[in-house]
């Protein structure tokens, strides 16, 4: 995670209690914090509420902030913690539910020219379609850069379970996205 050059200075202003700093931080980071939360809780309304709470807490605690890492890392951690707490509060049990049927019908589309946007929604659908516990574990590892050990502690499960769930997620995603994989990889290459 790269530290934006302006972030250090923003952080100092924030800690000095300069109110314009909270606005700058909010405008710069709100959108991606929303997306981080949304990956854990696939509900846009809830994701925005939680993201807002992340910044509100930052604002309230700004005088006592002790951010060792980067502002971005701090926001990411706060977002992940809040999202997981929300799941816990909602008593969303990560039962070993049956895997949602993987979208096999998409195989037919392989021959078609697929727009980037459609590919995007295929990814969203495939990951959203994973079993709930499997999905959260996978997302924390893939997108929030948490270690197996950290994920295990967060969710009160064993690191071995984490590893198994990630392997399972990859297998299910491979099935769901088989038809699109060449296009997705091509797109990634083009974007680089």
């Amino acid at each position: 995670m790269q530290q934006g050059t302006g972030d250090q200075e923003l952080l100092r202003q924030l800690q000095r209690g300069e109110e314009s700093a909270i606005e700058a931080v909010f405008r710069q980071h709100y959108a991606w914090v929303c997306r981080s939360v949304l990956r854990i809780i696939p509900d846009e309304g809830i994701a925005e509420d939680i993201a807002q709470d992340v910044f509100y807490e930052l604002y309230r605690k700004r005088r006592d902030l002790n951010i060792q890492s980067s502002l971005k890392a701090y926001l990411r951690r706060a977002a992940v913690n809040r999202a997981l707490n929300h799941l816990r509060d909602q008593k969303i049990r990560f039962a070993e539910e049956d895997a949602a049927p993987v979208q096999e019908s998409y195989l037919a589309g392989a021959q078609q020219l697929i727009e980037a946007e459609q590919l995007q929604s295929r990814i969203d659908q495939a990951i959203d379609g994973l079993p709930a516990r499997c999905r959260v574990i996978f997302v924390l590892s893939r997108f929030e850069e948490l270690s197996y050990k950290e994920i295990a502690e967060h969710l009160d499960i064993s690191p071995k379970t984490v590893e198994n769930q990630i392997a399972k997620a990859l297998r299910l995603l491979r099935e769901a996205l088989a038809a699109y994989l060449p296009a997705l990889l091509l797109l990634l290459k083009a974007a680089q």
């Binding site: 909010f26 405008r27 949304l38 696939p42 994701a47 807002q52 969203d124």
Partner: protein, 293 residues
């Protein structure tokens, strides 16, 4: 992780990247929460509030050295965009805050002191021993017990006081200027020009944001349009300047702006155009009487 897993791992890079939240709307919500926070926890955040108020108001520094020293009772309130707030201060004074306003209050021996930014209607409790002093944007408003509207937004060049009851003294301490205002008078201090003056305000339309009522009695159209602009938060252009002296007698209460324009168009016979967020009044004549150049 084998090669295929690595491919998948990379391929899903864009998960949820299509979600574009409305940052502007979210920020407005955040601001409101922050303002509500200040209002709800007045004492704790008070010192920061002084600093902020001081910065925002650009006050005459000299008058405020004494400010930090004493404490008897301290309160601070704030409103965000689209909010209003009615508060009762410890001395019994009522204040109705319009949007984007902040008020800090401190009760001392010998005086009641307030720092203010934004717009509010004050109904000041009578206390002959302790005048009520409000500092905003380099001006001081001094009263004993009155009702008046004070408008002092940082982004506007003026401070305006419109008096409904009693006597109000509006001064600019730095240059020792002052005006005494009585009911139906409006005092204006223009910070850019350093000019302090007063004029009649027979209709007290400065209070309309709170009462919801705009009245005009033989009021020049230029004044009518200014009052409408402020009340409805719009921009109105009168293309024929000669019409600005036409007068209007009418009262609006609860009408939508479109209805007001309908009334005006009927009386003055102009055409209404609205484009680029501005209302343009074209042509027209004074109260049915043909204008002669």
């Amino acid at each position: 992780m084998d090669k295929h897993d690595q491919e998948i791992w990379r391929a899903i890079e864009g998960y949820k990247s299509g979600f574009q939240p409305n940052t502007e709307a979210a920020w407005q919500k955040m601001r409101t929460r922050m303002a509500a926070d200040e209002a709800a926890a007045p004492v704790r955040s008070l010192h920061r509030f002084w600093l902020r108020a001081a910065a925002a108001i650009v006050l005459g520094i000299g008058a405020f050295w004494a400010w930090e020293a004493s404490t008897a009772s301290e309160m601070a309130y704030a409103t965000g965009p689209g909010e209003s707030l009615s508060v009762e201060l410890p001395d019994g004074t009522q204040a109705w805050l319009n949007q984007n306003s902040s008020l800090a209050f401190k009760s001392e021996e010998g005086a009641r002191r307030a720092l203010f930014s934004g717009e509010a209607f004050f109904q000041v409790a009578k206390d002959k021993e302790r005048p009520f002093l409000i500092v905003s944007k380099g001006t001081e408003t001094r009263v004993l017990g009155t009702a008046f509207n004070l408008r002092a937004y940082p982004e506007e060049p003026t401070v305006e006081v419109e008096v409904a009851e009693g006597k109000v003294r509006l001064s600019e301490p730095e240059n020792g200027k002052a005006v005494e205002l009585t009911p139906f008078e409006k005092g204006t201090y223009n910070a850019n020009e350093g000019v302090l003056g007063k004029k009649q305000a027979p209709n007290l339309n400065g209070l309309a944001w709170r009462t919801g009522k705009l009245s005009f009695r033989q009021t020049p159209l230029s004044t009518v349009l200014t009052d409408l602009e402020r009340f409805y938060g719009v921009d109105i252009l009168l293309t024929d300047a000669a019409l600005s002296h036409c007068t209007l007698t009418s009262t609006f209460e609860g009408e939508a702006l479109e209805e007001v324009f309908l009334v005006l168009s009927t009386i003055f016979e102009f055409k209404l155009d609205s484009s680029a967020g501005q209302y343009v009044l074209k042509g027209g004549r004074c109260n049915g009487k043909e204008l002669t150049q």
